[in-house]
Every structure is written in structure tokens, then in C-alpha cells.
């Protein structure tokens, strides 16, 4: 197996040195919700505050220059990480805001066009007519579903979705039947946070672009875990969060094709995103600034760049291989357990490290509670992907997610924790 040197990596993460529930070793299997942060990231953020802190892009004094430079250098580092141009990366507070930014571009373009207000060149692409269609999939996180429901509710556009197969994959047949010339955007995840499924982006892009629709890729569960290159993907937007990839809380990213970002009206408006302001009208800056109103989260950008450097030093291909090995091992181990059913693909092909499962006759909350008592921190519930639970007729699941600081022994701890739960609740297996 191509595993990383987990002990060495874990030593960089202060929190992994602590214990939980009366002295249990912390087995953190909830990186799919948020990852832990290495010292290097915390140091970078702190150094920004202790040496260079100022409001970026607003001052001409030395601190402001340094802060602006740190912020924009961070943008460059992050852009390069996904093969993007610097100016095509917009910082948001999280992936959720990034996705909303695009959904609101549609709303705002539609409203302004409707009232004959001035719009950037090319904004027509974002103008919706009654009956235009938006396509998502049934495996979306709420963050990539609810904003589109809302957009439809407010514009008269219609939400459609691509279904799932019984074995936890996208139903690619739906691409043909669901997409059509009225489809304006296909918003879909690269990797399901509940099922672990990795989608065939190429097939989706081909189908979407074939009918003239844009593609927004929810990359929350891919950018942290595998090499991602926006050019190779061929999509139009990707959105992801910093906090799931060793970075600080409070920062997310939207990448968009330059000509699309340029064509989009602003979302949140205020200072720093303007070109000129008069009492009765304003004009707006070019992207990315147009979408970054207010004093931005510069320290968090610097921290995220440090996270990128940390991951680059390991190598994203190695990160992916490590997780793949752990996932294969976990699928095997859990698959062998009586009374345990995996929700999602059973084989590790095109599959990330989110492993969701149900234990017969024990509610996920109760499974999670017993695991927690053993120091094994997993997530229980619908994982913000409630429709997936409905699709597979489970009220909720227990979910383990792995990252660079997890090793085989963590999977073993998971397995023995599940056994304890079965014993505790007297479930005969």
C-alpha cells in the first residue's frame, strides 16, 4: 500500500495530540466536515496578524502594502494549486457563498435585464426566462441544491436533476433525458460527501456544453483530496472551501472562466468592489474584486496558501493514493462486518474516502455515540445531503472520512468501535 508517513504528518497537527472522552486517543474521521490544521497554517495566520495586519487594497502605508502583497500572493498560490489564473479566483467565506455567488449572478442579471439596467458585456448568458432549466444531481450537498431551488422560486426557472443508480453512482442515462436546450447551468459535485462517489466530469461537461449550458462543479470534496486542474476539467466554475483542506475556517474560493466572471453582475456590494460611486449610481471593478465587497479575510487567505504549500510538499497524487489505500482497506473491513451496510459504491474505483454506512438495528446517532466514547470521531446524520438518504431509504448514516493524518490503525479503531456498538445495543450479528 502507498501510505504516507502518518506519524510524521500527525505530529504537525497539535489537536491530534489531545485525547477525548477520558483519555481515549483522538481518532479523527470527520475531515469531510472540516479538516484539522497543521501548525504551519496556524503560524502563517498568526504571523500575518503579528507583522503585517492592515486592511488590504485600502491603504498606501507600509503595512497596507505588505498586507495587500500577502493577500494577493496567497491568491496566486491558491490559483496555481488548481491550475488557474490569479484573477479568476474569488475569495468567499465558504464554498456555500461561492455557489450562491453564481446563483445570484443569474438572479441579478435576470432582474437587471428585466428592468433595462446596465449589465456587463456578455451578461445575457445569465439571464433566465420563465421555464429555463437548472440541473443538479440527487447527490448534491444542500449547498449545491438549495441555492438553485431558491433561484428557481424567484425566477420561474425549473429545477431538474440527474438521479442515482442503486449502487451509488450518477445515472448517466439521465444526462440525455434531463438536459436540453433550455438548460442554463448544470451544478454538480465532483465527489459526493456522503457516498464517496467520484463523478465523470468529462461526460457531464460534454453533455452540458453540448446543449449550451454552463457547468459549475462543487469541488469541496475533490480539491482537498486529489489533483484538480480547472483547464483539464473543462468546467466553467468550481467552488470549494479552505477549511476542508487544512486551511482556516472562514474562507472559500470560486474559480470561474475569466470571460464569465467578467460578464457577471456583482452579488454582495459595498466597498472595494466599486470603480466609481455617486449617490445615485455606481460602477464596478473588474473580477475578482467585483465579488469581494468589504474588508476581506486576508489572514485566512494567507493561512490557506500555507495549507496549499503543505499539501504541495506532500504532493496531491500521494494524498490521493494514500486515501485510496485507506478507503480500499476500510471498504474491505466494513464490507466483511455482519450487520453493516455501506451506502455508496462498494468498490474503490472512482471513489473518494467518504465511507457512509448503517448498522442494522442501531440508529446512526447511537453508533456515533459509542464510537465517540472510543475516541472515534465520525459524523452522523444526513450530512447535508438529505435527498441521498431518502434515495437509499435510510433516515441517516454514520460516515467516516479519511485524510492525510489517518492511518490503518484508525480504520481498525472504527471497526472495533462498531463492534462495541453492536455489543452494547445487544444486536446479535
Amino acid at each position: 500500500m502507498t501510505l504516507l508517513d502518518v506519524a510524521r504528518i500527525a505530529a504537525d497537527f497539535p489537536i491530534l495530540g489531545r485525547t477525548v472522552r477520558d483519555g481515549q486517543r483522538l481518532v479523527y474521521l470527520d475531515s469531510g466536515a472540516t479538516s484539522q490544521k497543521p501548525r504551519q497554517v496556524l503560524d502563517a495566520e498568526r504571523e500575518f496578524y503579528e507583522k503585517h495586519n492592515a486592511a488590504v487594497h485600502r491603504g498606501a502605508h507600509q503595512l497596507a502594502e505588505e498586507a495587500t502583497d500577502a493577500f494577493e500572493s496567497a491568491r496566486l498560490t491558491i490559483a496555481q494549486f488548481v491550475g488557474a489564473q490569479t484573477d479568476d479566483i474569488v475569495f468567499t467565506k465558504n464554498a456555500t457563498e461561492a455557489i450562491n455567488l453564481v446563483s445570484y449572478a443569474f438572479l441579478n442579471a435576470t432582474l437587471k435585464a428585466g428592468r433595462g439596467m446596465s449589465l456587463p458585456d456578455g451578461a445575457q448568458r445569465f439571464v433566465l426566462a420563465e421555464g429555463d432549466e437548472i440541473v443538479v444531481s440527487e447527490m448534491e450537498h444542500h449547498a449545491n441544491l438549495v441555492p438553485w431551488q431558491e433561484l428557481c422560486d424567484k425566477t420561474g426557472a425549473v429545477l431538474k436533476w440527474i438521479g442515482l443508480t442503486d449502487d451509488g453512482r450518477l445515472n448517466y442515462n439521465d444526462l440525455e433525458t434531463v438536459l436540453n436546450s433550455r438548460t442554463k447551468i448544470v451544478a454538480i459535485t465532483q465527489q459526493s460527501n456522503l457516498l464517496g462517489t467520484i463523478n465523470d466530469v468529462g461526460a457531464i461537461v460534454a453533455a452540458a456544453h453540448g446543449v449550451g449550458a454552463l457547468v459549475l462543479l462543487d469541488a469541496c470534496q475533490s480539491v482537498p483530496h486529489m489533483p484538480v486542474d480547472v483547464a483539464a476539467l473543462g468546467v466553467d466554475f468550481i467552488a470549494w472551501s479552505g477549511h476542508k483542506m487544512l486551511g482556516p475556517l472562514g474562507i472559500g474560493c470560486l474559480w470561474g472562466r475569466a470571460e464569465l466572471l467578467a460578464a457577471m453582475p456583482p452579488f454582495i456590494t459595498g466597498g472595494s468592489m466599486i470603480e466609481t460611486v455617486q449617490m445615485d449610481r455606481s460602477t464596478f471593478a473588474l473580477p475578482p474584486k467585483r465579488f469581494e465587497a468589504g474588508v476581506p479575510m486576508a489572514a485566512q487567505a494567507v493561512g490557506l496558501a500555507a495549507a496549499v504549500n503543505y499539501l504541495n510538499a506532500i504532493g496531491m497524487d500521494k494524498v490521493q493514493a494514500h486515501e485510496h489505500a485507506l478507503t480500499s482497506y476500510a471498504l474491505g473491513a466494513l464490507g466483511d462486518m455482519p450487520g453493516v451496510r455501506i451506502i455508496g459504491p462498494l468498490d474503490s474505483r472512482d471513489r473518494g474516502s467518504a465511507v457512509s454506512f448503517v448498522v442494522d438495528d442501531i440508529h446512526p446517532h447511537d453508533v456515533g455515540q459509542v464510537l465517540d466514547e472510543h475516541g472515534v470521531e465520525v459524523r452522523v446524520g444526513h450530512h447535508c445531503a438529505w435527498p441521498v438518504c431518502r434515495r437509499y431509504s435510510v433516515p441517516a448514516t454514520t460516515r467516516a472520512t479519511f485524510y492525510i493524518y489517518n492511518g490503518i490503525e484508525d480504520v481498525d479503531a472504527l471497526v472495533s468501535g462498531i463492534q462495541s456498538a453492536q455489543q452494547f445495543f445487544g444486536v446479535s450479528v
Binding site: H363, H382, A396, F424
Partner: protein, 149 residues
């Protein structure tokens, strides 16, 4: 093991053999509450006995973890056929016990005092309270109906 504090035998009994589960027709109020973090849900109904307004019939159907299921079963034991006043007192006390501002009082909660261990797991408090908050909501609605009638 600390787990036993939360999962006392009496809780597991209620969970395995819930009391009073099942919905009725023609009720005065019906509410549907969910725990948005985990998807647990309960449909809870109250019917005020027309002969005796101090007798409030409780019926419910639910889905969820051992704590939320046991808690509903206990609620049924405690509040079925009781007055709204009694129920409100019990709800208030249950909430206070979960917030650790009151010591468990068996006279008010019956088997419910066994839920005291849940208070140490803030993320599970909602499970324990789901049915109780639903009852409160339904009772207020039923009372409203009553006074409009």
C-alpha cells in the same frame, strides 16, 4: 464506561418497546417536528377530552435514535391523559434538566429522569427534547382551537 450514564437500561427498554406509538384519526392538533441535523422526526397529536378538558390524549409516530424514541415513549407515559398544565410543567422541567439548571424530579418526569445523562452530551439534548417540544407546540395549538371554538 460513561455510555451507561446516557443509555440507562430503562431508556433502552423504552427504545425497544415504545409505549403508545401510533397515530389516531380526528385529533385536535397534530404537529411534525424534525431534528434538522440528523433528520429524526416525530408526528405528535393531542386531543383534549371533550368531557374532561383536564384529560389530554397523546398519540405519536416517530423515527430516530434510541434517545429520541425512548424520550417519546416516556412522554407518552407521563403526559397521556394528563392536563395541559401538568404537561407544561413537565416540559419546562425536562428542558431545565437538560440545561442542567434543575435536578431531576421523578414526580414530574417519571422514567424521564433516566434521561439526565443525556445532558452531558449537548449534541444529543435535541434528541431528548424533540418529542417534548412537539407536545408543547401541539398543546398550544389545541388550546388555541379550544378557545376559538
Amino acid at each position: 464506561m460513561k455510555l451507561e450514564n446516557m443509555y440507562q437500561e430503562i431508556i433502552l427498554d423504552h427504545y425497544r418497546h415504545p409505549h403508545g406509538k401510533g397515530l389516531r384519526e380526528n385529533v385536535d392538533a397534530q404537529v411534525h417536528h424534525v431534528n434538522p441535523t440528523c433528520g429524526d422526526e416525530i408526528t405528535l397529536q393531542v386531543t383534549i377530552d371533550p368531557e374532561n378538558p383536564d384529560r389530554v390524549i397523546v398519540s405519536y409516530d416517530n423515527q430516530g435514535c434510541s434517545i429520541s424514541q425512548a424520550s417519546a415513549s416516556i412522554l407518552f407515559d407521563q403526559l397521556n391523559n394528563q392536563s395541559i398544565q401538568t404537561g407544561m410543567t413537565a416540559v419546562d422541567h425536562m428542558v431545565a434538566m437538560m440545561q442542567r439548571t434543575e435536578e431531576p424530579n421523578e414526580d414530574v418526569l417519571g422514567d424521564g429522569i433516566a434521561l439526565v445523562g443525556v445532558a452531558q452530551y449537548p449534541a444529543r439534548v435535541k434528541c431528548a427534547l424533540l418529542s417534548w417540544m412537539a407536545w408543547k407546540d401541539a398543546a398550544i395549538q389545541a388550546q388555541g382551537e379550544e378557545s376559538h371554538a
